[in-house]
């Protein structure tokens, strides 16, 4: 959080000072839209316009068919909840501007598509009338091992964002064939309501799935590459929508 505030201050200071210092290079916008800029309950036309690389979503998985923007939502097939999932990423103009200008804290702050510095795959879910009914964020496995190891802690960040005492959480038992990662095991599902009446659902997982082990049974060597599941999944949606849970235990 401190880094976020610091980089915002640096960027603002740089942009404000630009005219007075006769800055020769192009400047960058001071902010960009992010996951929290989505307006649930509003039509496509009310949504932010600076997101990039739109594609049909796959329930928080890799992108499917590329599309032009939110307006082409109907191209994407309906999911089990009856919604059209559109995946996208954040605009990277500020990130690359800061890289060119060698302003590292700003580049870090605006690097990639993330929530609270956790890399995420995000998507917006529209109904047939083009009204945004839900938004989804799932931690992105395509990151460093260190980031992936801590991915499940995104749940703590999101809980804090809405207020930690608002949530009703259930710690679930290990299913057959699942084992802890070292001594740690997390399988928690939480629900809450936001101040503006949105339904919130949050899942955190840290476990070995069947066949995933820290030690290779054939060589007895420690496996590199992190064979475990460390994820967080967050959905906020119109409570009138029945979101279907596709998780396979």
């Amino acid at each position: 959080m401190m880094q976020r505030i610091l980089s915002a201050l640096i960027l603002t200071a740089l942009l404000v000072s630009a005219p007075s210092t006769a800055w020769a290079q192009a400047t960058a916008p001071a902010e960009r839209s992010d996951f929290w800029s989505l307006k649930i309950g509003s039509p496509v036309s009310a949504q932010p316009t600076d997101f990039q690389e739109f594609a049909c979503g796959t329930d928080g998985g890799p992108p499917s068919t590329p599309i032009k923007g939110f307006a082409a939502f109907a191209t994407c097939p309906k999911d089990a909840s009856g919604l059209h999932e559109v995946q996208f990423r954040y605009d990277d103009e500020i990130e690359f501007w800061a890289l060119a200008m060698q302003i590292e804290p700003v580049a870090d702050r605006f690097a990639g598509t993330n929530i609270g510095e956790f890399p995420v795959i995000i998507s917006a879910l529209f109904d047939d009338d083009g009204i945004l009914r839900a938004a989804r964020a799932v931690t992105d496995d395509r990151t460093t091992l260190r980031n992936r190891r801590s991915a499940y802690t995104l749940a703590l960040y999101i809980k804090g964002r809405f207020g930690s005492d608002r949530w009703t959480c259930k710690d679930l038992p290990l299913a057959d064939g699942r084992t802890p990662v070292g001594t740690r095991f997390v399988k928690q599902d939480c629900t809450a309501r936001s101040d503006d009446g949105l339904a919130l659902e949050l899942k955190a997982r840290l476990l070995h799935r069947r066949g995933q082990t820290a030690i290779d049974p054939h060589t007895n060597q420690v496996r590199k590459g992190g064979q475990y599941e460390s994820t967080a999944r967050f959905e906020m949606f119109d409570p009138a929508v029945k979101m279907v849970d596709n998780e396979q235990d």
Binding site: Q25, A26, Q52, E93, F96, W97, L99, A100
Partner: protein
Amino acid sequence: MSRTKGLLVFAVLAALAVPAAAEDNAAAFLAGTTNDCPGCDLHGARLKGRDLSNANLEGANLSEAVLHRAVLTRANLKGANLSSSNLNVTDLRFADLSGANLTNALLYQSNLAAATLEGATLSQARSQHADFSRARMGKVTWVGGLSDEASLVGTDLSDANLTETRLFRADMRKAILAGADATRSVLYEARLNDADLTGIVAKDADFRYSRLNGAKLTNADLTGTRLLQAWLTGADLTGANIEAAHVKDDVPPQ
């Protein structure tokens, strides 16, 4: 007399019509109905991510324009004013930028492979991690540029002015720098294997830890050039004043 008056009126109307037509063209270009806008005033335009491949923008004023992630492959940008523009992550492969003004432009991670930049000005441009491989950059003015870790493999930089330009860790294998002025430039850890540096002026330039294996340094002016730990195996130093270079780290950092 009336004939003269008529001609005068026609001339005035024609003079007024030309800028109006140019403005119409610029408006059509900004609306996306055309990709061609030679000579247009597009100062500060936001053209982020736009597909402008094969566009004709010769002589256009694109100063301070935002072209972040735009696609400009094979675009005609001859003589265009791109000063202080944002060209980060743009695709400029095979584009013609000869004589263009790219002073203070941002070209971070841009792809300029096989582009033509002959006689262009890139002074103070920031092009770290950009790809200039096989680009034609003869007589380019690139003073005080920043191009760390850029790729300039096989790039023609003959007679270029590279004064005080920083090319730290740049990949310049087989690049042609014959007759270039690289005074006070920084090529620390640059890869210059088999490059042609015939007659280069590299006064007080920093070539420490660079790889110059098989490079041609014939008649190079190496006065004050810092060559500590530079690899010179197979380099041709005929006529070069290597004795005037610093081969030990005995000069303070610039």
